[in-house]
Assembly symmetry: C2
Amino acid sequence: MILAKKIQRMAERAREAAREVAIMPTEAKNHLLLQMADALLARKETIHKQNQKDLKEAWQKKLSPALTDRLTLTDKRIEEMAHGLQEVSGLPDPVGQIVKSWVRPNRLEVSRIRIPLGVIGMIYESRPNVTVDAAGLCLKSGNAILLRGGSEAFFSNRILGRILQGVLKKDNKNPDMIQVVETTARQGMESLVRQSGTIDLIIPRGGEGLMRWIERHSKIPVLKHDKGVCHIFVDEEANLEMAEKIAFNAKVQRPGVCNAMETLLVHEKIAPHFLPRIVKKMEEAGVEIRGDAGVRKIVPHVNKATKKDWSAEYLDLILAVRVVPGLEEVIRHIQKYGSSHTESIVTENRKTAAEFLRRLDSSVVLWNASTRFNDGGQLGLGAEMGISTTKLHAFGPMGLEELTTTKFVVKGNGQIRE
Amino acid sequence: MILAKKIQRMAERAREAAREVAIMPTEAKNHLLLQMADALLARKETIHKQNQKDLKEAWQKKLSPALTDRLTLTDKRIEEMAHGLQEVSGLPDPVGQIVKSWVRPNRLEVSRIRIPLGVIGMIYESRPNVTVDAAGLCLKSGNAILLRGGSEAFFSNRILGRILQGVLKKDNKNPDMIQVVETTARQGMESLVRQSGTIDLIIPRGGEGLMRWIERHSKIPVLKHDKGVCHIFVDEEANLEMAEKIAFNAKVQRPGVCNAMETLLVHEKIAPHFLPRIVKKMEEAGVEIRGDAGVRKIVPHVNKATKKDWSAEYLDLILAVRVVPGLEEVIRHIQKYGSSHTESIVTENRKTAAEFLRRLDSSVVLWNASTRFNDGGQLGLGAEMGISTTKLHAFGPMGLEELTTTKFVVKGNGQIRE
C-alpha cells in the first residue's frame, strides 16, 4: 500500500513536470542532453561501481552469459549512451511542427501541430542503456518519463537515473521529468500500469512473459514491442547471389534480435538450385536448418520442421525453411504464422515485388534488402524507442515523432456554427 | 458460453474479411457505398417498421424524450444516412497514400504508406445512424467492422446491418466486413472486448458508464470518445460583441453535444462590462448561470457555483462562469478541471492568443471561434467516427485517415547490414 501510494505520487509529479518539458524551448532541451552526455562520461567510475553490484548478483543467480552480457556497462557502452544523447540533441525537435494546414470555406484557418504525448511509462528488462536512451528521446520530444527496469539491473538503472536527474537539478529544471522507479517489487510495476489518470502511454520492452503480463494488467494504452517472426521469400525470379547474401545477413549477422529472419520461403522452381548452396552456407556458420518435406527432398540431411517451427521466434542460429509454389502461398503462410513485424522478398520481377509489398501488412516490408533494416536508425528516424508491433499510433520503429500526437489549432475572426 | 463462442467466430470472420477489404480497389468501395445509400432509401418502410419496435419498447420503458428522439429514424434521418454514405464515397481513399518517402545514404528507398487498421469494434448507444456512418467510414478506409449498439436500438441496428450486408452479398463481396452483433446481452460486449487476437481497436461512444466499463474490461486498445468540459476565455482585450456571439453560440446552439461550452472564464478587467450583457442574453435563452464570487459581485442574482460545477459536463442549458485575473489562471483552471477536449480564447491580442493556443494541450484549441467547430465535418475531415479524447493515435475528430496506420515500404538492390 505504501509502495502503491509512492508510485502514484511519482506519476502525479511526472504529470506536473510534463507540463514544463512540453513547452521547453528546443535549445534548452538540447543543452540538457549535452550536459547529460558529459555527466555520464565524467562519472564512469561511479557507474561501474553500481553496475558491479548488479553483475555480482547476476553471477550468484547464475544468469545466462547472454543476459549477463546485456547487463554489463563497459566503458565503450557508457560512451555509446553519451554519444546517443548527443545525437538526439542534433535531431530536429518534433514539438510545434506543423503537420498540415488548410483554410475552410468560412475562412477558419486550421492546422495540426505536434505536441508531446505527456507522461510515458517505460517498462523494460536487462539492458540499462534503455534508461538513458529512452530518457533522452522523451526529453527531446517534450515528454516526462517513468522508467521501470528489471530487478537484475536495479543498481545500474538507479545510478543512471540519478545522474540524469542531477543534471536537471543543476540546471534548475524540474527533476521529475525523468524518474527511475527504484523498486524491484512486482507490485511497483502493477501500481505503475494502473495510473491511467496521469500516465498516457506504457511502452514495454522485453520477453513474452512481460508482454502478456502488461497486456493483462495495464489500464493505460500500451504500445507493445513484441516478437518478430520475420520471413524472407526467395522468388523464382530472384538473383540467387543476392538472395544468398540477404538471407545470410538476415539470419547470421545478429541472430538474437527481433528483426532477424526466422523463416525462409523458397519458390519451388529455384529450390533445387538455391537450397543446396544456402543450406551449406548457413550450416558453415553454425545454423541449424529445419525444413519441410519439400526442403528435405532436395537437402535430405536437414532436420524436420514441425508446425511449431513456423511461428517460432528462435532468436538463435536456427532457421525454418519451406518450399512454396508461389506468391499466393507465401502470403497465406505469412498471414497465418507471422507476427506482422518484417518481411522481405528477393526477386527481379517488379510486379511480384509490388504485390508482396502491397498485400502484406507487416510494419516493414522490403524488396531486395535484409530484414535487419527494420530499425529506427537504419531507416533514418535518427534513434528509436523500440519497434512497435501494435498497429495503433506507431507501427514499426518508433522515433521522436512517434512520441508525439497532434492537436488542431484553429484561428478565426468570430466564426460561429449556424 | 455459446454466445462467447459466437462472438469469437464473428471476430475471426471479420479478420478474414478485413484482408479482402484492405486491398479492395477504391472504385469498388465507392460503388458499394453508393449501392448501400440506394438500398437504405429503397427500404425506408422496412426500416420504419423495425424502428417502431424499438420506439414501442422505449415508450414502455419510459425512456427520456431526448433518448427517444435520438432513437427515432424519420424519413429525413434515413436520407441523411444515405447522403452520408454518398459523401464518403466522394472522399479521397486514404489506403495506399504515401505519407512520406526518402532515400537513405545506402540508397535504400523508404516510404511510409497508409494501410487500414484491420478490424474495428464499435460500441455505441442509442443513435442507430452510427451503424451506417461507422460502417461507411470503415469500408472506405479498408477496415472490417463489428458493430455493437445499445439494446434500446436492437431492431433498428439489426435491420440497418442486414441492408448493408445485403448489398455486399449482392455484389459478391464478403459480407463479414460489416457485422452487427445481434444480441443485447452484456456478455456480448464482454466477449467482444476480449478478442485481442482478431480485433485491432475498440471505439466506444456513449455515456460515462459505458466508458468506465470499457476501460476496465477491454483487452484491446481503446480510443475513447469521452466527455467534453469545454471552456471559452474572454480576454481583457476581447472584442466584446464577438465574444458575446461566440459564447452564446457555443452554449445555446446545441447544448447536448460534447463540443458545447460548459465553463465561461471572463477577465476581471472586462467582467463589469461583459458579464451583465452575456448573462442577460443567456438567461433570455433559458440558460441557468452558476457563478463564482467574482461573478456574483457583478450579477448578484445568479446561482452560486460549487467546486463540482468546474468539472461538470452539463450537456444542458446550464453554464458555469468564473472571473479570472488573467491567462495564467485560465491555463491553471483548464489544466485542473478540463477534459482536454476543446478550448477557445476571444481576444484581439495576438500574443495572448498564441500563448493560449501553445500551452493548452486540448485536442482542438481555437482563437476567436466557437467551440462547436470541434467536428470532423466542420474542420474539413469530410466525416467522422467521433471525437477521440485519447491522445494516442488520433486526438480530436477522427476521419478516414485516423482509421489507418502506416507501414514502411523499403526498396533496395541487395543491401545488407554491416
